[in-house]
Subunit: 230 residues, 2 copies
């Protein structure tokens, strides 16, 4: 196997929990491409492929190395044009960028206070130190102060997904009748919470929950094979 | 000319100001289809085409009558497949629905307190009575109470467009290198404010302002031909 996807893990290497790595994993499966996932902890990332990247996911496909989940999807679409499309045409690719920016601000960032200590708890000791330092610098407060906003963030969370919820009243996936990369963008965020924290962000009867379950079912339940965190 | 688009107007019939009618107008121009715009005031809508619709836009294309801006775009895409695509493929069409739902909640609804009295002021007397009654019922308060939230809504407004702003750092239009219906969806909202109120919602150096100007330039400046409200 010459195709490798470096993903993120904590102390348990089976528990991939980067939202961005999940986007790339789903994109590879959508294209029907076999790959070896290489779970990598935060502090090991600088060593992969001789320092090729400071972040994961990182895809190594033969002699090509591609970082950034969106760039990986673009690469796969171009390199494997005969496999099912990830974008459903140029308009879908352009709009996927908008959905990515929306998802970062509305799906991922707002759950950070809710799940940040659960992530921390799942890291190996050397990664905990790195995570605390880098995240506290980025967020401008201690992990514990971020987490203090968790209850408020959780209460406000479902309303943030309203545009997705309404879209799902018209069609089963963001991609239409079948999923596209735009679905995996949002899925990655919610899968991150499922795998790293296990917190219940949405009511069971929320149409977004039903959509997320449909995404978990894809590719022989690939997303479900990592159990929800307890 | 057998192609007609019923749009919305106030006392000044040249000043079309429905966000949804603007979406449909831009979609027709994108397809290069000539049409007669039929500006219609609120209380005249029930009389058009023998009571065919309670809302505008309403497109009459030969023997076809299509209401709802998204349905009009879908119809045009199907009926005129050789003209430039409005969606850029099935993925773009599916994602345009998401952008529509996002735009309703983040572009249109939040500007209501800012522009509602300017709209009211531009209506003929019989339409003012209809507008006050229907909007006060829908919003659960008087127009004046809605407008009392205008300053706060205006201050919060630019941040709501952040996903669009970030997308424009990757590409000149939501549709990519050239505009698609997704651009017209958001354009319709901002054009509504420009034509009905003239309020300055965004800083001049905001990338969203530059994008809006690019949209106003399209189709020989079709959107610019209606001057901004004073």
């Amino acid at each position: 196997m010459t195709r490798k996807l470096y993903t993120l893990c904590g102390a348990d290497t089976d528990r991939h929990f980067s939202p961005h790595a999940w986007k790339a994993e789903m994109a590879l499966r959508h294209k029907g491409l076999a790959f070896d996932a290489v779970p990598t902890s935060f502090t090991k990332i600088p060593q992969i492929e001789n320092g090729a990247s400071r972040t994961v996911p990182l895809l190594v496909d033969g002699d090509r190395t591609v970082g950034d989940s969106f760039a990986i999807a673009e690469y796969l679409e171009e390199a494997y044009p005969d496999a099912p499309s990830l974008f459903g045409g140029p308009g879908g690719k352009a709009a996927a960028r908008f959905i990515e920016r929306w998802s970062l601000a509305n799906v991922q960032a707002p759950m950070m206070p809710v799940i940040i200590l659960d992530i921390y708890d799942k890291l190996a000791a050397e990664d905990q130190a790195y995570f605390r330092e880098s995240r506290e610098a980025r967020l401008g407060k201690t992990l514990e102060d971020v987490a203090a906003g968790g209850d408020a963030a959780l209460a406000a969370y479902p309303a943030r997904l309203e545009p997705l919820r309404q879209t799902l009243s018209f069609q089963p996936f963001l991609g239409g009748e079948t999923p596209l990369f735009s679905d995996y963008i949002v899925f990655g965020g919610l899968q991150w919470a499922r795998v790293a924290s296990g917190v219940t962000l949405l009511a069971q009867d929320d149409p977004v929950s039903a959509w997320f379950e449909r995404c978990l079912d894809l590719f022989d339940g690939a997303g479900r094979k990592v159990p929800a965190a307890a």
